[in-house]
């Protein structure tokens, strides 16, 4: 029995040791900045793992091309999405940040506001890129007029459906909300073995298209302060319509109240759902997971209430230069190289995301691929960013919107109650952050 308390204290001192190490690093980190400048030029680059299933060849090629152009070498380090934010935070604390990093759109505001990222606005303008960048990503990367990240790649959510089921029942992709309901009802009658359109409770990014679609706002900025818009009449109408797809029309299953986005994909690959809300990057993975669905899936944009398209959240990554980097000019050369031209196009193609350059995205709209064009159209026509303020990062951290949707779907709260609760929570965070 004595080994138990022993191993516990070992674990505890390991934690303490890590803490002490972090403190030591923090203490002497300030000196390390200048030391690197004299030696051979190397840029440290942090890239998220998993976006591109096999990214090694891409970065080998990039490193070679960059060295040829500038003589500097790249030190590419991969990190997991899940652990990345903590890595950034500890690196900022210890001043061991990389020169260039891929930063998720939802983090830019927080890091930029903290003063960790360099302003890329002047460089983008100088390079003549201002009008060529994807507006949705520029919006996500801009805080108080300062651009903290160069758009790199983007994704958007639309609806993926089973073409064989639609053909069997003689259905066409819906173009209004009424048609969406009608299509769901036809599927419910014609194919009772399938869920027409499951609604996941823990999936905030699909709440917004409906909330925006009916004319609501997630939050609005008045001068320096923000206030929540989810309890407005328009926003409530959108949330109500979205919730009713499950509650009134029964297109979902009660179990989906605790589902995440990945659960939607699982139900689709298992052949249990006829339509799902899905990211533009997912169809490839669906076909890989369920080869028998090959050729049987298509996509259509999330429609607006009476036509047009509902605004959908543009997610993705930007390339940021850290303020602590002592080679910011060199870093910009790399950012420009990755964010434009052949490397941007190649990355987008390999990762099945969209490039952050409008011209390249327009090519995707023309794509004959039925799993590319609808998403590209949604992004070009109605791509939107969630509110860009560090406070919204906090709101996402607290899962306010997901909690709201879950409580509606489980029947614990009405749309009115849940949106009021969520709005109060958002306003509290907005107020404390100001």
């Amino acid at each position: 029995m004595w080994s138990m308390p022993g191993s516990r204290s070992v674990r505890r001192s390991a934690v303490a040791l890590a803490a002490a190490a972090a403190l030591t690093v923090a203490g002497c980190g300030s000196e390390s900045g200048d030391a690197a400048a004299g030696s051979e030029r190397t840029l440290t680059v942090w890239i998220m793992e998993g976006t591109n299933p096999d990214s090694q060849p891409f970065f080998d090629e990039l490193s070679a091309a960059f060295q040829q152009r500038t003589g500097a070498t790249l030190d590419i380090q991969f990190m997991q999405w899940g652990a990345a934010k903590d890595r950034f935070t500890t690196a900022i604390a210890g001043q061991t940040t990389p020169d260039v990093a891929e930063v998720g759109t939802t983090w830019v505001a927080e890091f930029g506001d903290a003063g960790a990222l360099a302003d890329l606005g002047p460089r983008v303008q100088e390079a003549g890129l201002s009008d060529r960048l994807l507006p949705g990503l520029v919006e996500a990367g801009t805080l108080d007029g300062t651009l903290y990240g160069m758009p790199w790649y983007a994704g958007v959510r639309s609806i993926v459906y089973r073409t064989d089921v639609f053909a069997e029942l003689g259905l066409q992709p819906p173009t209004t909300w009424d048609e969406l309901v009608a299509v769901g009802q036809r599927i419910k009658q014609g194919r009772p073995d399938l869920l027409p359109l499951p609604i996941a409770g823990d999936n905030e990014f699909i709440v917004y298209p409906f909330l925006w679609g009916s004319g609501g706002e997630v939050a609005t900025q008045n001068g320096d302060s923000w206030s929540s818009g989810v309890d407005s009449a328009q926003a409530r109408a959108g949330v109500q319509f979205y919730a009713d797809l499950a509650l009134e029309h029964g297109f979902s299953t009660p179990a989906a109240a605790t589902w995440r986005e990945t659960d939607l994909r699982d139900s689709f690959t298992k052949g249990q759902s006829a339509m799902i809300f899905s990211g533009s990057w997912t169809p490839k993975a669906i076909v890989e997971a369920a080869p028998d669905l090959r050729g049987k899936i298509g996509a259509f944009p999330i429609p607006g209430p009476t036509g047009g398209l509902a605004p959908s959240v543009v997610g993705g990554s930007v390339l940021s230069i850290f303020e602590t980097s002592d080679a910011q000019d060199l870093a910009w050369q790399l950012v420009e190289m990755m964010g434009t031209g052949e490397f941007a196009a190649k990355w987008a193609q390999e990762s099945s995301y969209f490039p952050g350059i409008t011209a390249q995205l327009n090519e995707a709209v023309q794509s004959p691929d039925p799993l590319v064009a609808p998403f590209a159209q949604q992004m070009v026509d109605s791509g939107r960013s969630v509110p860009v303020t560090p406070a919204f990062g906090q709101i996402q951290g607290k899962k306010t919107i997901a909690a709201m949707m879950r409580s509606i779907l489980t029947g614990e709260a009405t749309v009115e109650q849940a949106t009021s609760t969520a709005a109060a929570e958002m306003n509290e965070i907005f107020a404390s952050g100001a």
């Binding site: 029995m1 138990m4 308390p5 516990r8 505890r12 001192s13 303490a16 040791l17 803490a19 002490a20 403190l23 935070t89 900022i92 604390a93 927080e110 890091f111 506001d113 903290a114 003063g115 960790a116 409770g201 823990d202 299953t253 009660p254 179990a255 109240a257 605790t258 589902w259 995440r260 139900s267 298992k270 249990q272 560090p390 990062g393 906090q394 951290g397 607290k398 899962k399 997901a402 909690a403 879950r406 409580s407 489980t410 614990e412 965070i429």
Partner: protein
């Protein structure tokens, strides 16, 4: 056990003799203790002190980058203790869950230990190995396995319960309700924690002289009586260690709750101190607030631990 020893020392030292006899050796114990104290001071006390300091500041990413400090006094504590969620949901969830999970862990662990003590060495080795697997499994993996088993729709358990007509397998969702959510979490935590209790109690059981048990049998004591009057008093220190450690673990349980559907803050009804503190502080980059929660949690666990020890050891033994 360690507690008993420590109090012995405290009691003996003041009586160790007149000061004149101790003086030549005063420095030596401290000298011998110095390396350990230095390590402890550097690795435990300093971080602890830093956490205390941090809990009095408004410390976020901005402060992290700029190195500025923003003293807010006891604001963090006021905000925490004034949060209605804490009293209405978080604390009741945490306390009830911990009490149930600790009770189940200790009772089940003790039963398994009593079983193990009766087995032949070979069989005991086999069974021990089997339960060690549950212990060795990382909490993340274990949690995913349990979530998988209870997944609404096609989880093994949901299907099984549906087959015997207890639930409607098509619509039942164990993660939706508060009670069923914590039932699954308790299964997971107890499954992960009972091997420690079982092995620790077993080690204690094997030290009980056979004669005592035999004498009790001769006196006509039944199994329950033998456990109550012989085994339990002999193993009281062991139960103290098992209970206190389990309490600490189950009080601050995080992984097993956070990874379950809704446990990451989406389902506000199932927040516990562990997940609530993460959602309120680190998920929102409010490190000062997080530090204040850590201080409160430490204080709470100290109180619980002391209360337990007092309960288990009567005052005359302390």
């Amino acid at each position: 056990m360690t507690v008993a020893e420590r109090t012995d020392v405290e009691r003996v030292v003041p009586q160790a003799g007149p000061p004149s006899r101790r003086r030549p050796g005063t420095a030596r114990p401290w000298l011998l203790l110095a390396p350990a104290l230095l390590v402890m001071g550097g690795l435990l006390l300093y971080p602890l002190f830093r956490v205390l300091v941090l809990s009095l500041q408004d410390f976020g990413l901005r402060e992290l980058v700029s190195g500025r400090t923003d003293w807010v006094g006891l604001d963090n504590y006021v905000q925490l203790l004034g949060d209605p969620d804490l009293w209405a949901t978080v604390l009741p969830n945490t306390v009830v869950f911990a009490v149930v999970a600790v009770a189940l862990t200790v009772v089940f662990g003790t039963l398994v230990a009593l079983l193990l003590a009766r087995l032949s060495p070979v069989v005991r080795g086999l069974v021990t190995t089997a339960i060690m697997v549950a212990w060795a499994m990382p909490a993340v993996t274990g949690t995913y396995v349990w979530v998988f088993a209870f997944a609404p729709g096609d989880g093994v358990v949901v299907q099984g319960l549906g087959a015997v007509g207890l639930v409607d397998a098509a619509t039942a969702d164990p993660f939706a309700g508060r009670l069923s959510f914590f039932a699954v979490a308790a299964l997971n935590v107890v499954h992960h924690g009972f091997p420690f209790a079982a092995l620790t109690v077993l080690a204690g059981l094997l030290t009980i002289p056979r004669e005592l048990t035999e004498a009790a049998i001769v006196d006509g004591a039944g199994a329950w009586r033998r456990f109550r009057s012989v085994t339990f008093p002999m193993l009281r220190p062991v139960f103290a260690v098992v209970t206190v450690l389990s309490t600490i673990w189950d009080f601050k349980v995080f992984t097993q709750i956070y990874l379950m559907p809704g446990g990451d803050g989406v389902n506000r009804g199932v927040l516990t101190l562990g997940t609530w503190s993460y959602v309120e502080s680190f998920a929102q980059s409010r490190y000062g607030l997080g530090a204040a929660i850590a201080v409160l949690l430490t204080a709470l666990l100290l109180v619980v631990t002391v209360a337990y020890l007092r309960l288990l050891f009567r005052e005359d033994e302390l």
